[in-house]
């Protein structure tokens, strides 16, 4: 039974992913952003078939096995675009530091103001860093790791769906600046979308994932007590 559910889950996931790519090509609108469209359709299929996320876990582990090597492969756009990024060293570093810090402060103040519990505020503060770093940092600051992971994922999806629209609206046209925004706020999921915009955007975004993760893990243990 486990075997059947797992095989079914894998086929459904791959199928919905391919369908999402096709749908997005045909109708390039927000609701058709592959990550959003595929996630919602997979959840609907699992719910209809009565498969719980627990039962989906084995399929998940099999399919995410290559996420590590895929992250390693981000070194390639970085290598190809290294001159562009080195030329923009200060805009990248300062943009990342100011953007990350201001976002943490804004998140904590908004969350406290709206009356979310301290637990949630703590978890939300690290929502802009990639899942593997966020789960480590969650332990350090005493946040619930799986709740953090979902907040991180939702932020990533938001960035992938609305990043381009927001950046266009704010008239941010510089490809390095655009890539930096994607990676700093929406980590790997945003980077996948930044790759679609272009190689410079993708490379800068890939760099930003690591930079933001490391920077946040260094400042959050002392920044958070000052804010909460």
């Amino acid at each position: 039974m486990v075997f059947v559910i797992t095989i079914f889950s894998i086929i459904a996931t791959i199928g919905m992913y391919l369908l999402a790519l096709k749908a997005h090509k045909k109708y390039p609108i927000l609701l058709m952003t592959p990550i959003f469209f595929a996630t919602t359709s997979i959840i609907i299929i699992l719910l209809v078939m009565g498969i719980s996320y627990e039962e989906y876990t084995l399929a998940k582990d099999i399919m995410t096995y290559l996420l590590g090597p895929a992250t390693v492969a981000l070194a390639i756009p970085l290598y190809r675009q290294r001159h562009v990024i080195m030329r923009n060293f200060m805009p990248v570093i300062l943009g990342m530091i100011i953007g990350t810090t201001a976002t943490i402060v804004a998140t904590v103040y908004m969350a406290t103001w709206i009356g979310l519990s301290e637990e949630m505020v703590t978890a939300l503060s690290i929502k802009t860093i990639t899942v593997p770093i966020a789960s480590e940092v969650a332990v350090v600051i005493g946040a619930d790791a799986s709740f953090v992971a979902i907040m991180v994922v939702l932020t990533g999806m938001f960035g992938a769906m609305f990043g381009s629209v927001l950046l266009n609206w704010a008239r941010i046209t510089d490809p390095v600046a655009r890539g930096l925004s994607f990676g700093t706020i929406s980590h790997g999921i945003g980077t996948a979308q930044a790759m679609v915009e272009g190689e410079i955007e993708g490379a800068t975004s890939g760099v930003a994932i690591g930079l933001t993760g490391v920077f946040t893990s260094l400042i959050i243990p002392w920044l958070l007590p000052l804010l909460v």
């Binding site: 699992l46 976002t103 925004s181």
Partner: protein, 133 residues
């Protein structure tokens, strides 16, 4: 011919997998809060810079993984389905904070970076002009 391509592809995948494993081992051994895959990425970057690994050795497998990067996140995003009760109780305030601050961050990060980049360009152009005078 197809078999040869498949073998090359698997070999390239193996190099990426190995770097990831080394990154994970290093992270555990050094006991630092940087994930193993990010260390693997830095390692690969250094190896490419120093010419130890040639781009052609890993090109096909890397292009494939990067092209389908979104796919690898899907099984994780599906995990949202476990948060039903929390979303029912806190959905609106959570969405407000999550998306409001993310939108703010995206615009601010891009704006700061673009401003610094354009200032630098202006300064450079001015520098060139001054030299011409």
């Amino acid at each position: 011919m197809k078999l040869k391509y498949a073998l090359i592809f698997l070999g390239q995948l193996f190099i990426l997998w190995l770097l990831n494993e080394i990154g994970m081992k290093l992270a555990a051994w050094l006991d630092i809060p940087i994930p193993g895959n990010v260390i693997g990425m830095i390692l690969l970057f250094i190896l490419l810079l120093t010419g130890v690994i040639k781009l052609e050795w890993i090109n096909e497998a890397s292009s494939f993984l990067l092209k389908h990067l979104v796919f690898f996140f899907l099984p994780i995003t599906v995990g949202i389905m476990t948060l039903g009760p929390i979303f029912l109780n806190y959905g609106i305030p959570l969405a407000f904070v999550l998306f409001g601050s993310a939108a703010f961050g995206i615009i601010l990060t891009g704006a700061v970076s673009q401003l610094l980049a354009s200032r630098r360009k202006v300064a450079k152009e001015r520098g060139i002009r001054d030299h011409n005078i």
